[in-house]
């Protein structure tokens, strides 16, 4: 795999510094489970390679969207970054330093926001207890004026848009709306003054109408508190509204990464194009939809892992560029095909090397 985004670029804000969070060659396998019967007849279990060599950098004050279908490993990557699962290989660096065994201080500075706000709140705790939990775990409150637990909880709640905070202290999660619950989760994260927030599908369980408010809140946190945000999503429309950079994952690997405008309007990888095609759009009645089921991480195809579903290969486009053989047999990593814009696609490499005139086929209308 090629190293992603190691060269600083002056066009990117904050990229001249050490990235706040860096993931190198991350691998996570899940042991395959077998039913009793198939075990008896001697079938072997197959491990699932959920994450298979992911490199990722999160720059200070940046919003990075990690997108893909379910099963592509995006959530597993986020969970491995949070230390919720043990990676099988690879490194995670926070502010340039490798994570050791003791994650305590790391966990104070990197916070997670989960998909299901209802489930992430203990139904038997009050809002105050929930927001104060992190403070208590890390003994943050000094008790001095301005730093009492109550003041810290109040501040976190009002930063998360729950005003006036005192009104919510004694309520229980079920007394709040879905949007408010997600704000409480965010307040719980903000209480610890984190540098990074990893948000796993933070709005996909919410009503479409309140999603925007939560996203606006996340952007506000980035602007006012310089919090870097890694947002895991299946929704490229969401990535378009909030992300500075977008990384697209397929079967455990990043297949395309770059500035959001580039990736979403001039995608280079056929998979990114396919994902863009299914974003619901008015009048998009007969848009192409990739056939087949979400890919199976227990059975990774040889060559480019997308080739069995690749529309460019199926349409003969790859054959015309004489890369169809490579598509089927040669595995490949990311290449910087345009400035700051990386993709792992044989066809895109050929197209890019023919000059940056980018044929119409690689452009999204």
């Amino acid at each position: 795999m090629s190293d992603v985004d190691v060269q600083p670029s002056e066009r990117q804000p904050g990229s001249d510094q050490v990235p706040v969070l860096e993931v190198r060659d991350l691998e996570v396998n899940f042991a395959g489970r077998l039913g009793l019967l198939s075990g008896l007849i001697g079938r072997k279990s197959r491990d699932a390679r959920a994450v298979d060599g992911v490199d990722l950098t999160l720059r200070r004050g940046e919003v990075l969207a990690l997108a893909g279908e379910s099963g592509c490993g995006k959530t597993t990557t986020a969970r491995a970054i949070m230390g919720l699962i043990q990676p099988d290989a690879g490194q995670i660096l926070f502010e340039g330093k490798r994570l050791g065994r003791d994650l305590r201080s790391y966990r104070r500075r990197v916070q997670m926001v989960f998909q299901d706000p209802t489930g992430s709140l203990n139904p038997r705790q009050t809002i105050y207890e929930i927001v104060a939990e992190g403070l208590r775990i890390h003994n943050v409150s000094t008790g001095e004026p301005g730093h009492t637990e109550e003041e810290l909880v109040s501040r976190a709640l009002s930063r998360a848009g729950m005003r006036p905070p005192e009104r919510f202290f004694l309520l229980y999660p079920h007394e709040l709306s879905g949007g408010q619950r997600q704000r409480v989760v965010i307040a719980g994260a903000l209480a610890l003054d984190p540098e990074v927030i990893v948000a796993d599908e933070p709005v996909s369980n919410l009503d479409a109408s309140v999603r925007g408010e939560i996203l606006r809140l996340l952007l506000q946190l980035r602007d006012t508190l310089q919090i870097s945000i890694l947002i895991v999503t299946h929704d490229l429309g969401l990535a378009w509204t909030v992300a500075d950079r977008v990384a697209v994952m397929y079967l455990g690997r990043i297949v395309e990464i770059g500035p959001a405008e580039q990736v979403l309007t001039r995608p280079m990888h056929p998979y990114t194009r396919a994902l863009l095609d299914v974003v619901p759009e008015a009048g998009g009645v007969d848009r192409p939809v990739l056939a087949g089921e979400p890919p199976d991480p227990t059975n990774i195809p040889p060559g480019c892992r997308f080739h069995p579903r690749c529309p460019a290969l199926a349409s003969g486009e790859s054959a015309r560029a004489a890369v169809d053989g490579a598509c089927r047999t040669e595995d490949l990593g990311l290449d910087e095909l345009r400035p700051q814009h990386f993709a792992a696609c044989h066809l895109a490499s050929v197209v890019a090397s023919e000059g940056d005139r980018a044929p119409a086929t690689t452009d999204r209308a």
Binding site: H138, Y172, H174
Partner: protein
């Protein structure tokens, strides 16, 4: 409803504690009583007498001491062992879970009566033996139920959220797991109390308890033995039977009430 249950329990506990003040223990000794044999309820014997001329009322009052003591103590032992093993197995998982669950299964499948007899013959027949025997043999079902609940709780996003916040295992168990398994443990307690009170009967009957002490179970056993039903001596069965039903019911009510208190979602309504 919980208050009714609590009152019933308080009344029974009071009866058990103050038994010597309410009824003389002389009424239990067949050699000291001189009442009519198998008499129906009358003014002098409000609940009738048994085949030895003892007052059923006196026996039921004294029986509450043994039955409640055995019920409470055996239940506490069961709950402590069962919850501990269930939580550790469910929370730790992997080999710890496998090992603890095999032990649990072993206790589940082993005929508990045989185990009880062996234990009692080692420890010698006494009330404590009965308590220990019931406690040691009835925890496996509790452990299984608790473990199952812990397994689902462990995967809840709020547990994961707390872990991402940097919470220790101790914090996770005491703040998030335990409060949410309590309802299950309490629901289980009710069953165990009932089973413990009934098991005491069996063990007393087999001579593994103190044969001279009357418990509700042993009254029922004696009534059954003497063929109370065919003799038409219904009063012999009614008092101890009703006492058992009431106590078990009271525990159930208290269990529900406790869940109401602990669960904010229900509390509000």
């Amino acid at each position: 409803m919980g208050m009714i249950g609590l009152y019933i329990l308080i009344i029974f506990t009071a009866i058990a504690i103050f038994a010597p003040l309410i009824a003389s223990s002389r009424g239990l000794d067949p050699t000291l009583v001189n009442g009519p044999i198998l008499a129906g309820p009358s003014l002098h014997y409000p609940l009738g007498t048994d085949d030895l001329g003892r007052s059923i009322l006196t026996m039921t009052i004294w029986g509450s001491r043994i039955s409640l003591l055995v019920g409470f103590m055996a239940t506490i032992i069961t709950m402590v062992i069962g919850s501990l093993i269930g939580i550790v197995a469910g929370y730790r998982g992997t080999w710890m879970d496998a090992a603890l669950m095999r032990v649990t299964d072993w206790f589940l499948v082993i005929p508990w009566l045989a185990l009880a007899i062996v234990l009692a013959s080692i420890l010698g027949p006494s009330l404590i033996t009965i308590i220990v025997v019931i406690g040691v043999t009835s925890w496996p079902s509790t452990a299984r139920v608790v473990r199952a609940q812990v397994l689902t709780l462990k995967e809840r996003p709020y547990v994961e959220r707390a872990r991402a916040l940097g919470a220790s295992d101790w914090h996770l168990i005491t703040r998030h797991i335990l409060p949410n398994v309590f309802p299950v443990i309490f629901a289980n307690t009710i069953l165990v109390v009932a089973i413990a009170i009934l098991s005491e009967t069996t063990l007393s009957f087999l001579g593994l308890g103190d044969p001279l002490r009357a418990s509700w179970g042993s009254i029922l056993e004696a009534a059954y033995d003497a063929g109370a039903t065919s003799l038409g001596a219904w009063w012999w069965l009614v008092a101890p039977g009703l006492a058992i039903v009431l106590v078990v019911l009271a525990f159930t009510m208290c269990g529900y009430a406790l869940d109401d208190i602990l669960n904010p979602r229900i509390r509000e309504r």
